[in-house]
Amino acid sequence: MSAKLHGLLAEFADAEQLHGAALRTKHEGYLFIEAYSPYAIEGLAEALHPRKVHVPFWTLVGGILGGGIMYFVEWYSAAIDYPINVGGRPPFSWPAFFPPTFEMTLLWASVFGVFAMLIGNGLPRLHHPLFAIPEFERGSSDRFFLLLRAHDPHFDLPRTRDFLATLAPLSIIEVPE
C-alpha cells in the first residue's frame, strides 16, 4: 500500500471486547486511539480521553447570554427607549419581564448545547477516511472498531499490526488517508 496511512482499524464483535482492547492499547502507550461503536459504551470515552467535554459549560454560557440579552431588551425598550404609562405601572415592571427571559434562557442554552456538541465532535464532516472502508458500514449497526492513528509516535505498521492481532479482533484493516 503506497498511499499515506490514516491508521489501522481492528474490528470486534461486541462492546466488552472493544472496551478491553481499548484499555490494553492505551496501556501499551498509544496516544491517538479512537473507538467506534453503534451505541454509547459506558466509561469508554472517559478512559480514552480523560479530558472533560465542554457541553455543559457552553449550555450554561448560552443560558446566561439568552436570558441576559432578553431581559436587557425588555428593560431598554420599556424603561429607556419608549416608556409608556399603563395604569400607573412602573415602566420597568421587573417581575412581568421574567417569563420571556426564562424562555430565552432555556432556548439559548439548548442551542448552545447542541452547537457545542457538534463543534466539539468536529461535525458536520461529510468526508472521513473511514467512510472509504466497506467494513466500517457495520460500525453503525452491530460492529465495534478500534482505530490506531498512523501519526502516533508509538505507531509502527508491522509491530502495531502484531499487537492488534493479540487482541483477537475479527479483522484488521489498513485505512488509507
Binding site: 481499548a22 467506534y36 453503534p38 467535554v53 419608549y82 432555556l106 442554552a109 439548548s110 465532535n121 458500514e137
Partner: protein, 455 residues
C-alpha cells in the same frame, strides 16, 4: 411477610432475543425496505385531503378575515384558541415522556421517545399556526418580535400573549433540536445501510458525518441530558404561559391562579392519549411489536390515568373554589356550565375525562389495545371539549346581560379543526416513512444491558 408484596414479574420492555443487529434490521427496514403499503397510502391520502381543506380555509381566511368563523363579540375566542391550546398541550405529553423519563432513567422509554418527540414537533408546529391566524391581520404577527422599527414601537412585555409568543418559539426550536440531535446516530445507520446511492447521500447529509466515536457518544449523551433537563421546566413553563393567557383575563372562570397547574395536568393527559393513539396503530403497521411492547402501552395508559386523576382533582378544586368564594359572577358562571345552554360541553367533558378513564384501573383493559385506543381517542375528544367549554362558557355571559351572546361554529371552524388534524397526520405519516421511528442506538444499548443482566 415479603410474599405479600411479591407480584407477577413484569413483561419485558424489549422482546427477548433482540440484539444490536436485529434492532437495526427491523427499525431501519421500515425506512429502507418496507414497501409502501395500501394502508399507509390510504391514510396519507385521507390526511392530505383534510390538509387541502385546511389550505383552502387558510386562503379564504386571509382573503375574508376571521369573520368566516363563528366568533364574534362577546365570544371572540372560540375554535381557534381551543385548537391552539389543544395542539400545544398534545406536544407537552411527548416532551414529558421523552425528557422527564430520560432524566429519571426510565430505560423503557428508549423505544417510545422518538415517536413522542416527533409528535411534539408536529403538534407544536400546527398549534403555532392558530394564534397567528386568529390575529385578524396575520401578516403582522412579527410585530410581537422586538425589532427597531421605524414606528418606534416595542412589544408589550407585561402581556401574557407576548409571553406566549416567546414560549411557543422556544418550545418549537428546542423540540426540533432535541429530536434532531437524538436522531444523528440513527441517520448515520440509515446512511450506512442504504443500498441506493441517492438515499445514502440524503441520509449522509442529514447525519452530518456521524461516526460513532467514543467522544461523539460522550458529547451526545451530555447534550441529551442537558436538553432533557431543560425541556422539563420548558414544558411546564410553556403551558403555564398558555394558562396565563386566561388567568390574566378578568372574566368569571378565567381569573384564577389554579390555571397553570390545571392546564399542565390537561396537557400531559392529552399528550399521553395522543402517544397511545399513534403508537397502537404504528406498531401494527410497521411490525414493531418487539419494541413497542404491551408493557409500553400499559405503562402509558397508567400515566394517562394518573394525569387524568390529576385533572379531575383540578376540576373538583376549581368548582370548590368558585362556591367557596361566593363571588356571584363566578357562581353564576359555574351554574351556567352545569345547566346552561352549553351544559352538554361540561357533562361530555366529565364523561370523557373523568368517567371513562376509570376503566384503566383494570389490568385487563390496559392489555386490550383496542380498548386503550378508544379510551385515548375519547380523552383527546374530551380535552378538546374541555378547552372549548372553558373559553365559551366564560365569555358568552360575563357581567353585563346587555353584552351577552351565544357562539355558533360555522363550516370553516370545523374545516380548520379537521384540517389541522389532517396536516398533523400528513406530517407524521411522511416522517414515519423517512426517519427511524424508534431510537435504534438506545434500543441497542437497552438490548445490551438486558443481555448483560441475563447472562
Amino acid at each position: 411477610m415479603s410474599t405479600v408484596f411479591s407480584r407477577e414479574p413484569q413483561p419485558p420492555v424489549i422482546a427477548p432475543g433482540e440484539d444490536a443487529s436485529s434492532v437495526t434490521r427491523s427499525v431501519s427496514g421500515v425506512v429502507l425496505k418496507l414497501p409502501i403499503g395500501l394502508r399507509w397510502m390510504g391514510s396519507l391520502g385521507f390526511a392530505v385531503m383534510l390538509t387541502g381543506i385546511f389550505l383552502v380555509g387558510i386562503c379564504w381566511l386571509l382573503y375574508a378575515g376571521v369573520g368566516i368563523w363563528g366568533l364574534n363579540i362577546p365570544v371572540a375566542w372560540a375554535f381557534a384558541i381551543t385548537n391552539y391550546v389543544w395542539w400545544i398541550a398534545i406536544g407537552m405529553g411527548g416532551t414529558f415522556i421523552s425528557a422527564a423519563m430520560y432524566v429519571t432513567r426510565q430505560h423503557w422509554r428508549a423505544s417510545i421517545n422518538r415517536l413522542a418527540e416527533s409528535m411534539t414537533v408536529f403538534a407544536v408546529a400546527v398549534s403555532g399556526l392558530f394564534p397567528i391566524f386568529h390575529l385578524g391581520r396575520p401578516w403582522f404577527f412579527y410585530w410581537l418580535f422586538p425589532y427597531p422599527d421605524v414606528m418606534d414601537l416595542w412589544p408589550q412585555w407585561r402581556s401574557s400573549l407576548e409571553w406566549d409568543f416567546w414560549a411557543i418559539i422556544a418550545y418549537l426550536i428546542v423540540s426540533i433540536l432535541f429530536l434532531y440531535a437524538g436522531m444523528l446516530p440513527d441517520l448515520a445507520t440509515l446512511r450506512d445501510r442504504a443500498s441506493r446511492r441517492l438515499v445514502a447521500i440524503f441520509y449522509g447529509l442529514l447525519s452530518l458525518g456521524w461516526r460513532g466515536e467514543a467522544q461523539h457518544w460522550r458529547r451526545l449523551e451530555s447534550v441529551t441530558l442537558m436538553l432533557a433537563g431543560l425541556s422539563v421546566p420548558l414544558v411546564f413553563s410553556v403551558h403555564s404561559m398558555v394558562a396565563l393567557d386566561f388567568s390574566e383575563g378578568l372574566v368569571p372562570g378565567w381569573h384564577s391562579t389554579i390555571f397553570p397547574p390545571y392546564f399542565i395536568a390537561g396537557a400531559l393527559f392529552s399528550g399521553f392519549a395522543m402517544v397511545l393513539v399513534l403508537a397502537i396503530p404504528m406498531r401494527r403497521l410497521f411490525g414493531l411489536q418487539a419494541y413497542l411492547t404491551d408493557r409500553h402501552i400499559s405503562v402509558i395508559a397508567k400515566l394517562m390515568l394518573a394525569a387524568g386523576l390529576w385533572i379531575d382533582y383540578s376540576y373538583a378544586s376549581e368548582i370548590f373554589t368558585v362556591f367557596y368564594s361566593m363571588d356571584q359572577f363566578d357562581v353564576r358562571m359555574e351554574m351556567n356550565r352545569f345547566l346552561g345552554p352549553y351544559a352538554w360541553l361540561f357533562w361530555s367533558t366529565m364523561a370523557f375525562n373523568f368517567v371513562q378513564i376509570q376503566l384503566l384501573w383494570f389490568e385487563r383493559i390496559r392489555r386490550n389495545h383496542v380498548a386503550v385506543f378508544v379510551i385515548a381517542l375519547g380523552v383527546l375528544y374530551g380535552m378538546w371539549l374541555e378547552r372549548l367549554m372553558l373559553i365559551v362558557t366564560s365569555l358568552y355571559q360575563d357581567f353585563m346581560p346587555s353584552a351577552w351572546g351565544m357562539f355558533y361554529p360555522t363550516f370553516w371552524d370545523f374545516a380548520f379543526l379537521f384540517g389541522s388534524v389532517g396536516l398533523f397526520l400528513s406530517l407524521y405519516l411522511v416522517f414515519s416513512r423517512l426517519m427511524p421511528m424508534l431510537s435504534m442506538y438506545e434500543l441497542r444499548k437497552l438490548a445490551h444491558k438486558r443481555s448483560e443482566v441475563a447472562g
